[in-house]
Every structure is written in C-alpha cells, then in structure tokens.
Symmetry: D2
Subunit: 260 residues, 4 copies
C-alpha cells in the first residue's frame, strides 16, 4: 500500500490534507498549521505557484514562499503538498514538497506527467475540468508507465450547466475509479462545490462513497484570503467536519488517521 | 412535517421507497414486495405508465397494472408510488397511488404540475435532465402555489459529458436544495448512476450528505427486467445497502425508518 | 415535400417564421406583423401560453390573445404559429394556429406528442435543453407513429457549461439530423444564443450548414418586451439579417422564400 | 493586421490551414501537400508531437519528422504549423514551424503560454475542452502580456452531453469572441464534429458566422491514418469544401485567400 512519510493511503485509516489555497505569509501559514496540528491532521497543503485564469490575479509567492513552507512544515512535522506547474520547478520543489500536486489545468500536460514519472515523490493528480474517467486513468498511466507508481487520484468537481455552484462534485467517480483501478482516490469538496456551506456535507458524502482521503481548504481568515476565500473553512468549521467524518468512517469500519 | 400514510418525510427517521422500474406482472411485483416487506421497507414503487425514449419500447402495463399494484400494495400494507405522465390519469391513479411521481421528462410540464397542485396527494418531483437548482425549486413552486404543499424533491442525476455512467449524480444538490428550501429531498442513485455496482456507494453518500430518503430500483431478476435491468439491485444486494445505510444514518444521529 | 398554407418546407426555397416571443397586445402584434409583411416574411409567430420558469412571471395572454392572433394573422395573410402546452388546448388552438409549436420543455411530453400525432396540423418540435439527437428523433417518431408526418425539427440551443450565452447553439445538429432523417429542420438562433448581437451571425451559420428555415424573435420595442427582450431583434436589425440570409442562400443554390 | 509569411489573418481575405493530423512519412506529407498546393492553400499543418489520451497510442514522429516537415514545407512553399507541447521544444521547432499551435490540452498551461509570449512566432491557441470564453481570452492574454501580440484563437468544439459527435462545435463562440476581442479566430470543424460527413457544413457555417480562417484535417488515405482518420477529408472532399467556401465568403463580401 502507498505510504507517504509513514502515513498509509488507500487502507482502513483515512488521512486528511488541509491548508490554505495559497501560502500568503509566514504568520498565515503558521496560524493555520498550528490549528490543524492540534487536530492531528497529518498533511499540510498550500499553493506556491498558482495558475489563475486572469494573468493579473495573485500568482502565488513562488520561490519566495519556499522557506516559509519548509519552516512551518518542519515545525509542526506536517509533510507539505503543493502544486507543480512547470517541469523546471521539479528539482527545487523536491526540497519542500512531500507530495507533488498536479492541478486540474495540467492533467493533460503529458510532458509534465512523464517527468514526474521519473521522480520518486508521490503525485496527487487532479482530474481536469471535463475529463472522462478513461482520460483521467490514462493520465495516471503516463506517470506510472514512466516509473512512478505512487499516484493518488483526486476528484475535484467537473464543469456542468449548473450555475449555482462553482463545479459539480462527481460522486459517481469515487466508486467507479476505485473499482476500475487500484489507485487511492481523495476528494476535494472545496473546489467540488465552491461554497463553504456545501463543503462539509459533500466531504462526508465522499467518505461514505469510499474516498481514501480528503483535500480541504482551510484559512484562518477566509474573507481576507488572496484566493478562493468563498470556499475555505475556518478552523472551527473544519473541526466540525472532521468530528463528523470520524463518525461516518467508523460506521463503515474505517477510521480517521491520527484519531485511532 | 410531511407525513405520508403515517411515515414522516424530512425528519430523523429516513424512509426508503423501493421496487421495480416497471410493474411487469402480479408474480413479479409480489415477489419483490414480499422481499422488501421482510426488510421493513415502508413504500413500494413501480411504473405503470413508462415514458420511453423509443416509441417501440415497452410502455408499461397502463391500466392493466392497476389491479396488480392495488392488490400487492394492500397485501403487504406498503403504500404505492408510481409515475403520472398525463393529467387525464390523475383521477384513476388516485385509487392506486399514495404518492404521485412526476418524472424527469415532465418536470417542466407546468400544466401537469398545476393540476397536481389541486390534489391532496403528495408529489415526488424528479429533477429534469439538465434543470438548474432554481428551475427545480420553481417547478416545486408551481405545485405549492396551486395549493399542494406536500412536495418531495428527488435528485436523480444530470446530463454531463461523462460517457461511462448513465447520468452524473449531483451530490451538491442535496445540501444546496435543503439549505435553500424547506422541502424534503430524496435520492435516486439507480438513475443517478445507471450501474448496479455504483448504486450502494452513491446511496450511502446521499444519506451522508443529508438526503431525507432513497428511491431504489429493486428487481427479483434484473437480467430479465423489461426496463432498466442494468441498474436494478437484487433483494440480496439491496439488503446489503440498507444494512450499511442504517449505520451511516446512526453515525449522523438519524435512523432508518422501520429499523428504530 | 411538406407544404404549409402553400409554403414548402425542406426544399430550395427557405421560409422564415418571425414575430414576438409573446403576444402582448393587438397594437404590438400589428406593428410587428406589418413590418414583417412588408419584408415578405411568410409566417407569424407569437406565444399565447408561455411556460415560464418562475410561476410569478408573465404567463401569456392565453385565450384572451386568440382573437388578436386571429385578426392580425388574417389581416396580413400570415399563417400563425404558437406554442401548445397542454392537450386540452388542441381543439381551441386549431382555430388560430396553422402550425403547433411544441416547446423545449415539452419535447419529452409523449402524451402531448401522441395527441398531436392525431391532428392534421403540422408540428414544429423544439429540441429539449439536453436531448441527444437520438432522443430528439424519437420524439418526432412519437408524432409520426400516431399518424402525423408533418413534423419540422427545431434546433434551439443546448445547455452547456458556457455561462456567457443563454444556450449553446448546436450547429452540428443541423447537418447530422438532416442526414439521419428526412425531416426539415429550422434554426432558432434567438434562443440558441440569447443575445441580440449573436442572432444574425448564428442565423447565417445555420443556413450555410443547411437549415431549412429560421425562427426569429422580432419585437418593435425589445426593451419593453414582457419576455425575452434581450434576444429580440428590432425590425431594422431583422431586415439586415434577411438581406444577408438571401445572399448566403443564393451562394448555395437556394433562395429566401418570398424573395425569388 | 496580423500577417504570417505575407498572408493576412483577420481581414477580407480568408486563409486556410490544412494537412494531416500527424506527419506519418515523407511520402504521406508530400502527397497531401501536393494536393493542397494545387488548390492554392497557403498553410500546411501536421502534428509532430501528438498528445494522445492513451500512452500506448502513436505519439507522433517527434524530431524524426522535423526534416520531413521542413523539406515538404519548403518544396511547396507552404509555411508549416504544428503543435508544441513542451517548453523544451520551442528552440528546435523554431526551425520548422511558422506558427506554433497550442493544443486543447495545453490552453491552461500558462507556463508554456508565457514562454511563447517571448517568441516572435505567431501562436494559434486552441480552446480547451470546456473553457469559458473568459478563460479562453485570458489564456490569450498570458501570451500577449508576455510580449507576443500575434495570437490567433481557434474554436475546435467543446465537451457536452451529446454522444453522437466527438465534440459540439460552438458556433456562438465565433461572433462572441470576435466582438469581445480584436483577435482573429479560426474554426476547426474536424475536431469540432469528429465526423467526416459534418466537416463541410460546419466549416461553411463557421465562415458565414465570421470566422477568419479554417483549420482542416486532410489525409490522402483516411482509413489508414495513424490518428483521427474518421474526421479527415480526402483531397477530393476538401476540394468540394473550399469551392463552396469561396461562394459563401463572396456572399458576405470576403474572399478565399489565393482565389482572388
């Protein structure tokens, strides 16, 4: 079974990856990590290179954020995951990331996938906006065929005609992909809904459907977030989610990692 | 709270509606109802008038099935729900149905909705193939404005680019519609997935997200079903689903109706 | 070939149906019909029964509009087409309509289609919001199988993820449906785009792709229209469209009806 | 106005880019180029690096095809356009390509777009499978903001629920994007339909809607093509298309480049 820094993925114990959409400052990341650490969350996430639709939007701290991520990740002993957007980043991100995240916009970037296939680091591969299941699994195959079997799939919502939510979380994808492949799959209800009020129920649904983990955006001050504030949970809202997640997992014979 | 034949909808106790896609014969409906009754399922479903894409497909028994539905429903004391497709059926279906189901293809049939608004019978309103949340709630409003407040919403999957499943079950819709309206909402994972292997996990997901009930296609011999066999559960598969549903509901402080 | 009041559909001569979304008053319909008549447009359209998403929106004049429609249609000798939303309207609408229009929301209303199959009047059948080509052709088959072969298909745009336009006009549908069936197909770029500025180019595109006619919303004062004003053309804008349509049709060996 | 090797884009004279999906061999490319050259087609296309869903599918000749492309392009004096999939290819492709094509899968690959923004070569940017108009224009903005204003947009069909065609060509996009931006836009009806029988009518539709050019897949033996054979035209089918295109363009006061 896939194990990352001692935490298993795809088994009875279900890990959670949480943190801000973007690393904004040391004090921001520290505040969030401290809250998550107190709840025994194993993994910290945070964007350094942000792919934003508008070239004028905040694009992430880039290399300026590396030392922040490294410092906070080590302080709380929480392995860090962040998005990689360019093959030229691989070497440098090696220092700071324990999991390479490939974002929705790069799922079809096969040249990047092939390069990550040569790395020993696990890859969290997000589904593209309108990827079929077959395309999603084939993208994973590009990484695996290049030599890296440590792939985690991530369902993060798809594009549909629905205009009231940012995306439509495809709950069918969780059992379909698990049955079709042997890969672990985590759910990102933050992007899958785009609305704070829907994150908890959809996160619980994903676990009930068999998801092997959750990827959740948590921010200490969502209203001041530089990106995606409308879908971020406060630490208090997040605590409510994981308390309920623990009960749902136990109901199906699993457990929340760190809460055995 | 809405109560149908003594069974509450929208509270802590969660009812299940199950049965075949189509009523095919007395022996078929009896075999299925007997199995469901033994599991304490409160409601029986079965199509009499089928809206089929192809005019040459089996269109349901129509009036010939009324006596079958009435007899079996009474024998097992299971209130019956069936789809109404034409305002001219209202009077006659009154005798046999305890809940009028409005199918996906008729959600925008406002003249039918207005007529059902004059009836005292509860209406289970399915979402159209590509209805936005706003359109769905407005369709319910057509019934309510005409005088009938006993409306149950039903999420049954939407049309998307995904080609591997029949529909994409929109899990976001469950919490969104509950938060936005005071109406109970049930989930139909049979149509929402179209594949037997996905019905159980998506049913559990819907309950974890807060669904107030389930609508499930059960057939004693799916491979011989005259419609939708590829998404029907056998009684044994259905028993597995409700046993797990009971645990998921308890984990969130609710219970399966009939299994208190 | 299908001929309606002497005007052929599906041949070298291409007819246009134009008029307001809703009949609002005698003076409104007269002003519009007069302008269209001067341009030799053969058919007048106008909604009497409007299916509106919101039950509180303007629902059309209903029977109050019958005498208006009849009077103006006869005055300018323009056969009238209007939407039928309920089987109980058939008999009465017979007096006023030369073509029964089945709207997007009723394409799956097979009971209505079967009743129209018993009528001698031609039926203009609009595609549902997310109907596949196969479903669309099968809906036409419900009318034909019941005895009425005078069916005209209408492509009016589909639901997609695109949020900048009301619908996405499916240009592929025009040649696909023509090749697959022997039925004439008309294009409704007003609903297919939802934006006045896109109606003309998409109308011309539909003709270049082989459409057998156009259905266009024209209003004398779009900003005061009781429905769909943002997609209606003024008579002046409409004149520009048909002048260009005439040239496009001639380029492919066809002609605009009334402009031989 | 944008001019590429002396051919203007975005004006009264409309250029066509044609050629095989993939460069397969010198004899294949020569046969196709010879046929196109005889028809006065200004630009030759052909994939060298193919992004294929399945990692086991033919991935293009890569560098082995460079000399073929260069030789044939020079022999017939047809500037060559080909897809770039990786920033590491820029320098080498400079030798062979007069236009860099960014494929559907890379529209969101902002790091690649920024690098192409530093190049003097024009970029043909294809719309992603489910990009909104706003996202598409913002992707172009990434190139322009980096210094390269020579961007041509390409509508190539979007993902919808329609299962009978490979994609749904979004005809609305042509006038919408032209009105919203000053950029030329070309249409790719080969991918926009996925079916040989629909390529011609949809190509003509795109021109009638105002497209500034066409990108068409032509193959001397479609049934033997290593990729996308089911949507390729033979030279004879292509000749029919451009003859009709010439007439449609003249009807709207434009002309086919090379056929003045």
């Amino acid at each position: 079974m896939l194990e990352i820094c001692g935490v298993p993925f795809g088994g009875q114990s279900v890990p959670i990856i949480a943190g801000p959409c973007s690393v904004e400052s040391e004090s921001q990341l520290e505040a969030i990590a401290a809250a998550l650490h107190e709840m025994d969350i194993p993994f910290l996430r945070g964007g350094l290179y942000k792919l934003r639709t508008n070239p004028d939007s905040f694009q992430g701290l880039g290399e300026d954020g590396f030392s922040i991520a490294k410092k906070i990740s080590e302080k709380f002993n929480m392995p860090f995951t962040t998005e990689i957007t360019d093959i030229r980043q691989i070497e440098k991100l090696h220092e700071v990331a324990s999991i390479f995240q490939v974002g929705t916009r790069n799922m079809y970037n096969y040249d990047l996938l092939k390069e990550l296939g040569k790395s020993p680091k696990p890859v969290l591969l997000k589904r593209a906006f309108s990827a079929t299941y077959s395309e999603f699994l084939n993208a994973a195959e590009y990484i695996i065929a290049a030599g890296n079997e440590n792939v985690i799939l991530c369902e993060r919502g798809i594009r549909t005609f629905v205009r009231e939510t940012r995306n439509t979380f495809d709950i069918n994808a969780i059992p379909f992909l698990k049955q079709k492949s042997g890969l672990p799959i985590v759910a990102d209800p933050s992007h899958g809904t785009g609305l704070t009020s829907l994150v908890e129920p959809v996160a619980l649904a994903a676990l009930a459907a068999g998801a092997d983990g959750l990827l959740i955006e948590v921010h200490n001050e969502p209203s001041k977030a530089l990106s995606d504030g409308q879908q971020a949970l406060t630490p208090v809202q997040f605590k409510s989610l994981i308390d309920k997640a623990e009960l749902i997992l136990k109901a199906s014979g699993r457990e929340l990692h760190g809460r055995a």
